[in-house]
């Protein structure tokens, strides 16, 4: 009867690219062959609504079955979709839905409108939850009224609109129940909008902006003004969002809902009831929707929802404890049951459908929290996932502690890792040591997430409301055998242990792409990235020098040259002097590399050009090649052999790197001006290539030579090179300092750890080797005379 009653009907669907929406579209196309679908889709930032339908909806593996069924028939999947699906661009968070007049007419022609668009994230900012969840349904009703039509509006809501309560939750509006607070949804809308503008204003207060700048600086170091500005702005918008998320959570909690989602959904139902006027409305309230029991295939799921992140965190050994009442009910319902129920309600039509239908398992086939946890632990004990070292992760036993205790534990761990991280970041670590910090950061992320889950989802595991499904079962009882077969929405059909073991967990483990096999795979990823970097398609490889190709720096080169012609007492004096100055030099370098170089190179003032050039030749072997990274130099030559241009961009002085010329097509180095008397002036000819200048230098080079930046590779070691690394298509972090290591990790960049040749002795002090006897005599007459005595 269901298929027949919807045959020939035009059904509009919002939220088609979502989890429920996808399953709904698939089911209607497959099980109701005679209906037409109108999908109201919000155009993306880069793609139109139709493109989103093609890419985000129809390519989903939910349609595999349908695609296969239609393969050898007259009409294949694509042409069937073209015939039966009409996409219209619209947005439920704007008044009037943002429809064009033509699209509005298409909407007006629909017999049924299924509204499943929602901000489902439990931690959406309050204002966007309000715009979408609270006002969305009302906007649809208003739009239909404006078009002067009254199709059957089926609104998807959630069982949790009932709020935090114990005992039975009937299929009734909250306002009709005994716990109604009498909230006015219009006031809540006003307040949420007001909060947004307040938060925006507060985020722009000078003291706030200052703290964002500080934070950006801490995270990026001396990355140059543009990168810092971008980071600061990002921190500001994140802050505003956090404020609104917090506001949503507190407001919901203050009036008895677990989170902003349930809270705004509850008010949304109220608003729709108040505003629907002549539009017939049926509300469908699923509980926690999880992977499909049978259709389109067992375990089908789209996106990660509520239980999955928690389960996976548990399987990764991250969540050692999770609060909850062991005998409490976790109300989970497979997505295909929800979809079938929505279709059944739509098929009944406005006259026969109940006002509210709950689709939940708690009232009729409950899954206790303990059953869930036990089954999950059993499964992961049998099928452990593996850590990055290829070792199986043992899942912990949960003791069902109270929420407060878990939160305290996690918060303690959080402050500990925070402190450790700050300490690590202030240390000059590189390469493999920087991995500690990366590990710590990972750990910190894990704790943060765990804390978030406990805060967000803890209430759900403690929720003891039992959602009644009388209306749902009423519809079920009236169905004939064929409909029961095709549109099974009986929650009793689920055998929980079977569902958890054979359907849900295998599916989410597969989706999460966690390691289910022992053995290391990390190298595979690195070698894949490396092969990509060393592809013939690349154009240019740009290299930083210090700590990227050699373990040395401008101060060392200077010291080497400066001490070359000194005798031993003078050398000692020099070393002491330099050590005394080093904190100041270091601080300056951290603040701005360009300023540091300019200041430091003043020391070359009055140095005779000829002598420096002569000594620089020896320095090439004794300092630069001695401290070079053979892997790095080999990489440069590999790029050359592949026909890439190689460019060295360094703040070092040109004479110090002259010996590296055969490796590079172009060397961009700092240059000092020379006085007519053949001495260096100590002043730079132009801005030394540091920070964002490097990105510009490379961009100019590419422009002049006709190369593309996205086909460039850049190698650098510090966050001050971030603009350069970000500018190219293939960044490589070499021996990254802690901050860069963290960034590279997050963004999936290739990280290389290069070292000087094993076995080369590492002199503690960068001091030039003594000149030979004859010159010693020439330059050190004092020492010579002493020898004669």
């Amino acid at each position: 009867m269901i298929a027949e009653s919807l045959a020939g009907k035009r059904i509009a669907i919002t939220g088609a690219t979502g989890f429920v929406g996808t399953a709904l579209v698939e089911r209607l196309l497959r099980a109701v062959p005679e209906c037409e679908l109108v999908l109201l889709v919000r155009p993306g930032r880069r793609s139109s609504a139709a493109e989103r339908v093609r890419k985000e909806l129809l390519k989903n593996d939910a349609f595999d079955l349908l695609r296969k069924n239609l393969k050898d028939t007259v009409e294949d999947f694509d042409s069937m979709c073209a015939r039966r699906i009409i996409t219209i661009a619209g947005d439920v968070s704007t008044d009037g839905l943002g429809l064009s007049p033509e699209d509005a007419q298409i909407l007006a022609s629909c017999d049924v409108v299924i509204h499943s668009a929602a901000a489902v994230s439990f931690d959406s900012p309050l204002d966007s939850a309000v715009e979408i969840n609270l006002l969305g349904p009302t906007r649809i009703a208003h739009a239909l009224q404006a078009l002067d039509v009254s199709p059957h509006l089926v609104a998807v809501s959630t069982c949790y609109v009932a709020g935090n309560r114990r005992g039975n939750a009937p299929e009734k509006l909250v306002s009709e129940g005994p716990f109604d607070l009498g909230l006015n949804w219009r006031n809540e809308v006003q307040a949420a909008r007001r909060l947004r503008s307040d938060a925006e204003a507060a985020s722009r207060a000078p003291s706030q902006l200052e703290s964002f700048r500080k934070e950006a600086r801490r995270e990026l170091g001396a990355a140059g003004a543009p990168a810092l500005a971008a980071k600061t702005e990002q921190l500001r918008t994140d802050w505003v969002k956090d404020q609104l998320v917090l506001a949503g959570r507190s407001r919901a909690a203050s009036v008895g809902w677990p989170d902003a989602y349930a809270f705004t959904k509850a008010l949304g139902e109220q608003a729709l009831t108040d505003e629907k006027r002549n539009i017939p409305v049926s509300i469908v309230r699923p509980s926690i929707i999880e992977s499909a029991l049978a259709e389109p295939k067992p375990g089908w799921i789209r996106g990660f929802r509520m239980a999955e992140p928690v389960i996976l965190s548990y399987a990764r050994g991250m969540l050692k404890e999770f609060p909850g009442v062991p005998e409490g009910t976790i109300d989970v319902i497979p997505v295909d049951i929800v979809v079938a129920a929505i279709i059944a309600v739509s098929a009944l039509g406005p006259d026969r459908a109940p006002d509210i239908t709950q689709v939940a398992s708690g009232g009729i086939n409950p899954l206790s929290y303990r059953t869930l946890v036990d089954n999950v632990r059993d499964w992961f004990t049998q099928h452990p996932i593996y850590d990055s070292e290829g070792q199986p992760i043992i899942v912990p036993d949960w003791n069902f502690p109270g929420r407060g205790r878990v939160q305290t534990q996690l918060k303690r761990a959080q402050s500990l890792t925070n402190r450790a991280e700050q300490t690590l970041q202030s240390l000059p670590l590189r390469g493999t040591q920087a991995k500690w910090s990366a590990k710590l950061e990972e750990r910190k992320g894990e704790i943060e997430r765990a804390l978030e889950y406990v805060e967000l989802y803890g209430l759900y595991t403690e929720c003891e409301a039992i959602y009644q499904v009388d209306n749902l079962m009423g519809i079920w009882d009236d169905l004939d055998a064929k409909d029961r077969d095709n549109f099974c929405f009986d929650p009793r059909a689920v055998n929980w242990p079977e569902y958890i073991h054979n359907i849900h967990l295998p599916s989410i483990v597969q989706h999460a792409r966690v390691k289910t096999q022992p053995g290391k795979t990390r190298t595979d990823r690195a070698s894949r990235l490396r092969a990509n970097v060393l592809s013939r398609d690349r154009h240019v490889a740009a290299f930083d020098l210090e700590n990227t190709l050699i373990a040395s720096n401008v101060v060392e080169s200077y010291s080497w040259l400066a001490t070359r012609r000194l005798n031993t007492p003078e050398r000692i004096r020099y070393v002491l002097q330099t050590l005394k100055e080093s904190p100041q030099l270091l601080a300056m370098d951290r603040k701005d590399r360009g300023d540091f170089l300019r200041y430091f190179y003043r020391r070359y003032e009055d140095a005779p050009v000829e002598q420096i050039n002569e000594d620089a030749r020896d320095m090439m072997t004794q300092l630069i090649i001695t401290k070079s990274f053979p892997d790095g130099l080999r990489r440069v030559r590999e790029h050359r052999a592949l026909g890439h241009r190689t460019v060295l961009i360094t703040g070092a002085l040109d004479f110090a790197v002259a010996g590296l010329k055969p490796l590079f097509d172009e060397i961009v180095a700092a240059e000092m001006s020379i006085r007519p008397d053949g001495t260096y002036s100590g002043e730079m000819k132009r801005v030394p290539p540091t920070g964002e200048t490097r990105a510009q230098v490379l961009a100019d080079y590419c422009e002049a030579e006709g190369f593309r930046l996205d086909e460039c590779v850049a190698y650098a070691d510090s966050t001050s090179d971030l603009p350069l690394l970000e500018a190219v298509g293939h960044p490589v972090a070499v021996n990254p300092e802690t901050r860069l290591a963290a960034i590279a990790r997050k963004r999936g960049w290739l990280v290389e750890n290069w070292d000087t040749a094993p076995g080369m002795s590492k002199p503690l002090l960068p001091i030039g080797t003594m000149l030979s006897e004859r010159e010693r005599k020439k330059y050190m007459p004092v020492a010579g005379r002493r020898g004669q005595r």
Binding site: R617, T621, Q622, P630, L633, R637, A641, A757, E773, R774
Partner: protein, 528 residues
């Protein structure tokens, strides 16, 4: 009167034998009744009046006019000398090259010759540092020539300073240093440490270009050199001698000066390293225990510094000058006199302790490739007649074989180890697939010409040199080596000598004969 070389049969009362292990050494007990140890002859007495002998050789050359008669005002005179790879260890000052060159310069000054160049005959070796040049030539020669640019090092890659002299009937191109080729007289000052050195190899290899060298430094030639210490059975030498003929016909007049040294390799307190174990006195034993214990605790870079600062007391035992081939014949005989030990029959297992030094890591690191070359290129080839180890036998060497390299001296070795040896240990295949890329690499060429790096192709030559031994032997085992590095070389790692003998039993059975070459001091086994 020094005692001749000696083969000691090991029985149960024989004291354990000294095995070099890089910058350290150990005493190892060899199985009784089937092992023997070969000791080099004791150091011959050096010539008392060295300067007198030098002068005598220059004035009474073999098959040549005396040197003063070859010198005339206005002539172009070039003196070439062996580089830092000789002698090993470096000799105490004054170096024999300094003494010979000073004598030649005195004669040249007497004859009014003022156009004199002194060239280090490097071939593809690394350039010497100023300190090394001063050590070999003395400050007087260095200060008189270096500042004027008339003391310099041969550059096998300098297209402007090479002269093509012709090709042999076999098609081997002869191209040598231009200044040497265009001189009225080329005086070559050699140190003949082993029988392989000297003769036409001095000029045809030492002063040659890469283009010329590749004709005899390749797997085919080196695979057919049995042995390199026996010039009449060495393809390498035959090729050099063919080139010598071209040099004689088209090149400059050559006045060859060859010297031999005795094998007095270690000064006190390391004198025990050259002594036979049963003759060690209490002090020797104490020094051994103290130094090996101390070295175990010393970081390798410091141990390396200590050993490379050793200057050997070895001294000149003969000098002969004149026509290349005639001179070299006598020189070779003199080398044999000091180094030949008669050995009866081959052995199943040849053991050797690899010391800290070989010609290519003076003041540097003995990297894994050089460990291979020292054992299989040098020591294995120290034979006349038949190799000491039978075909299909086993070589066991002791050396820590660390995964360490000197990036200044051996840049191409690092890449060779990473890129070539990780793919193949087959000399013929690497010759075909990789050699050209390394030989013609701009960066290596730059480092060879301006820095202190061996030529890019040099690690290949080292490898080819060992290929004869690799083909000859059934298994090669390194005791106490870095396992990864040993495997990369294609050899078998073992942690103790006993483990190594156990591993070898797969190849040579349970009761093999074992021969230990107690080098250094250097020796040549004349296998009957």
């Amino acid at each position: 009167m020094p005692r001749p070389g000696f083969v000691q049969e090991v029985d149960r009362s024989t004291p354990p034998q000294l095995f070099w292990r890089g910058e350290n050494f150990s005493l190892e007990k060899l199985p009784a009744d089937r092992s023997r140890v070969i000791y080099a002859p004791e150091p011959h007495d050096p010539i008392k009046d060295i300067d007198g002998a030098i002068r005598h050789a220059l004035l009474n050359p073999i098959d040549s006019d005396p040197l003063p008669e070859l010198l005339f005002p206005g002539m172009k005179l070039t003196i070439a000398f062996d580089d830092v790879s000789l002698p090993l260890p470096k000799m105490t000052r004054p170096d024999i090259r300094q003494r010979v060159i000073e004598a030649v310069l005195d004669l040249a000054a007497d004859a009014g010759v003022d156009d004199v160049h002194i060239i280090a005959a490097l071939a593809l070796h690394r350039r010497m540092t100023e300190d090394e040049l001063r050590h070999a030539l003395g400050d007087r020669v260095y200060d008189a020539f270096a500042p004027h640019g008339t003391l310099y090092q041969h550059d096998a890659e300098d297209p402007d300073n090479l002269a093509f002299l012709g090709a042999t009937p076999e098609g081997e191109e002869v191209e040598i240093n231009k200044r040497a080729a265009e001189s009225d007289l080329l005086v070559y000052v050699n140190i003949n440490l082993v029988a392989m050195d000297g003769g036409w190899k001095s000029t045809a290899t030492g002063l040659a270009s890469y283009r010329s060298l590749r004709h005899h430094h390749n797997p085919q030639t080196l695979l057919h050199s049995n042995s390199l210490m026996d010039q009449h059975r060495s393809e390498l030498h035959k090729s050099n001698w063919r080139m010598g003929k071209i040099m004689r016909d088209n090149g400059p007049k050559i006045f060859q000066i060859e010297t031999t040294l005795n094998n007095d390799s270690f000064p006190e307190p390391f004198g025990f390293l050259g002594k036979r174990e049963w003759e060690w006195n209490a002090r020797d034993r104490a020094t051994f225990v103290a130094s090996s214990k101390a070295l175990n605790r010393t970081p390798s870079s410091i141990a390396r510094k200590i050993f490379h600062s050793i200057e050997a007391p070895h001294q000149m035992t003969s000098i002969q000058a004149g026509e290349v081939e005639a001179v070299h014949k006598i020189t070779t005989e003199n080398v044999y006199k000091q180094q030949i030990v008669e050995v009866q029959g081959q052995t199943d297992i040849l053991t050797m302790g690899i010391p800290y030094i070989c010609p290519y890591n003076v003041n540097s690191i003995m990297n894994p490739i050089l460990v291979m070359c020292t054992a299989l290129g040098y020591f294995f080839n120290m034979y006349r007649g038949k190799p000491l180890v039978r075909e299909g036998g086993v070589i066991i060497m002791t050396h820590p074989t660390p995964w360490e390299f000197n990036s200044v001296h051996h840049p191409s070795y690092i890449d060779f180890f990473e890129q070539v040896l990780s793919e193949t240990t087959d000399g013929v295949r690497m010759h075909k697939e990789y050699e050209k890329k390394f030989a013609e690499d701009d960066w290596y060429r730059h480092l060879y010409r301006t820095g202190n790096a061996y030529h890019g192709v040099h690690p290949f030559y080292m490898w080819y040199w060992g290929t004869h031994a690799m083909h000859h032997c059934g298994r090669i085992i390194i005791v106490g080596g870095d396992v990864r590095a040993v495997r990369r070389l294609g050899f078998t790692p073992a942690s103790t000598l006993n483990d190594a003998l156990e591993i070898a039993s797969d190849v040579v059975g349970r009761t093999p004969t074992i021969t230990h070459m107690r080098v250094p001091p250097l020796m040549i086994a004349d296998v009957k």
